[in-house]
Structures are given as C-alpha cells and as structure tokens.
Amino acid sequence: MIQVFIKELNSFLNSLIAYIVISVFLAGIGLLMWVFPDTSVLDYGYADMETLFALGPYVFMFLIPAITMRMFAEENRAGTIELLLTKPITDWQIILGKYLSGWALVIFAVLPTVFYYWSLRQLGDPIGNIDTAAVIGSYIGLILLGGVFTSIGVLSSLLTTNQIVSFIVAVFLCFIFYSGFSSLASINDWGSGALLFEQFGILYHYNALSKGLIDTRDILYFASVITLMLLFTKLILGSRKW
C-alpha cells in the first residue's frame, strides 16, 4: 500500500498535476477571499473565514475529480493496470494507496490556507478576535469533505476508461452528495422525512462541524460515506475475475 501511495504521489508531483491543482485552488480561494469585493473579508468587516469554508467545497467539487479522474481510467486505457494487478498486492492495497495519495494532495492544497487564519487573527480588532473553534471545526469538516470527494472520484474513475466521462460523473456525484440532498429536502412534500433526507447529504454535517462542535455522529457520517464508496470500488475492481 505504501508503495502504491508513493508511486501515485510521485506521479502527481512529476506531472505538474499537483502544482496546478494546488495553485489553482489557492489562486481561486485567495481571489474570492481577499480581492473580489462581493466575497472579500476585507469589505465584509468581520474577521471570519466563512468565505473559505462556504466556497471551498465548490472549488473542491471541480478540482478533486480532476485529480482522481486519471487514477484508474488512465491505467485502464493504457493497459498498465495489468502490471499493477499482477503485483503481489491485494486489491484493497491498490485502492487505498491510490485513494490516500489523492487525499494527501487535497490536504497539501488546504494547508497553506492556515496563513489566512493567521492574517485574520492579526486583522481582528482587538488582535486575535476570531472564532478559533469554528475555524478548527471547519478545517476538520473541509478535510473530511475532501476525503469524501476523493473516494467518489476514485469510484467514478474505475467506472470508465474515459477520463472526461469519469470527471463529469464524479463532479455530478459530488454535487449530489454535497448540496443535492439538502436541496431535495427543501421540496415541501417530505413532511417529517425532510430532516432524515437532509442528513444523507454532506452539507448538513459540514455545517454542524463548522460551528466548532465536533459530534461523533458527523465524523462517523463522513467515514461511512468514504467506506461505502471504497467498498463499491473494491466490488468493481474485483469484478474483473467474475
């Protein structure tokens, strides 16, 4: 698993993908957070990082499928998947290695935004007047959300040999899981089922975490979605031997 992880991470670092993903993420979020007047914290007047955590998921929705789309699709098309599968490693090791390398790249992209926290802390009046708990909770939420999107991306990468199809399927699934469920729950026909339906979506748990209240149920929800996606990935990867 470690070998697959390192190999995948190296392929990101050697092929510019990592640098493009990280710089696009930082440029996009930086512009939204500090420059564009509609969403800028400087114009907003309150020292909080709501912009990053509200818009970050939408940036991830396009960036993470772009990272993961080639993982299995490219290997399937080029035939190098045969080499990988004949190595003395289990399917789980391949899947986890690829999955964790994608997630690691996402975490690398998020890490530099800690500077934003520091800047806002300095800009607060008095200095340090910022809701640190909410920021920590939101970071946990954002990283777990990145994990869910990566698992969705890995699954849809295995579904097809075409990278573009894989990208589009992953973006769609990420959107459904992120805000689709909440939006569907707002249809007025569900009655008391609306809350249950909303709880299937990421947004509900993400918002709960971003208050600074770490609930075991929310953490378990993210872990569950990741596990389910990886289980389906395992099933599809295993289906070649049927």
């Binding site: 909770g137 770490i214 378990l220 289980l231």
Partner: protein
C-alpha cells in the same frame, strides 16, 4: 445462476456485509454519541449550573415554541 462458491457471490456478500455494518454503526451512533465542544466559552454545552437548576425545579416547565406553517428545512430542523 451463480455457483455458491463463486468469486462473484463472495464479492457481493462482502459488499452487503460492509454496507450493513456501516448502516448499523450509524444507527447505533445516532443514539449514543459524544460531542467535543471546541469553543472557548463552551457555547454548545449545558452548564453544570443549568443542570443543577433543572434538577431543583419542582413544577412542570412549559416551553412553547411557535413554529408552524410553511417553513424551510432549517426551521423544520429547529422544530424537531
């Protein structure tokens, strides 16, 4: 028909067991959970003083919340 000892059946069973385990874990966790309140002033936790006050109440407390009609899911969440 799938042979009973086939790889396919095993894989599908593995998936079903995994899905069931995840669902069970979530149902169990919805009853028994723990919350870590990271806020400095413990905004989302009940103070010992409040608990003490509630224990010492000798009458039934009525809390009326007016939430009916056409509400969005945010208010439904509050209502539940």
């Amino acid at each position: 028909m799938v042979a009973l000892d086939s790889k396919k059946l095993g894989d599908i069973l593995q998936l079903l067991i995994g899905v069931t385990a995840v669902l069970l874990a979530n149902i169990l966790a919805s009853n028994k959970f723990y919350r870590f309140d990271l806020t400095e002033e413990k905004r989302f936790s009940i103070k010992p003083a409040t608990k003490e006050l509630l224990k010492n109440l000798d009458d039934v407390v009525y809390v009326e919340v007016f939430l009916e009609g056409e509400l969005n899911s945010g208010f439904k969440r509050l209502r539940n």
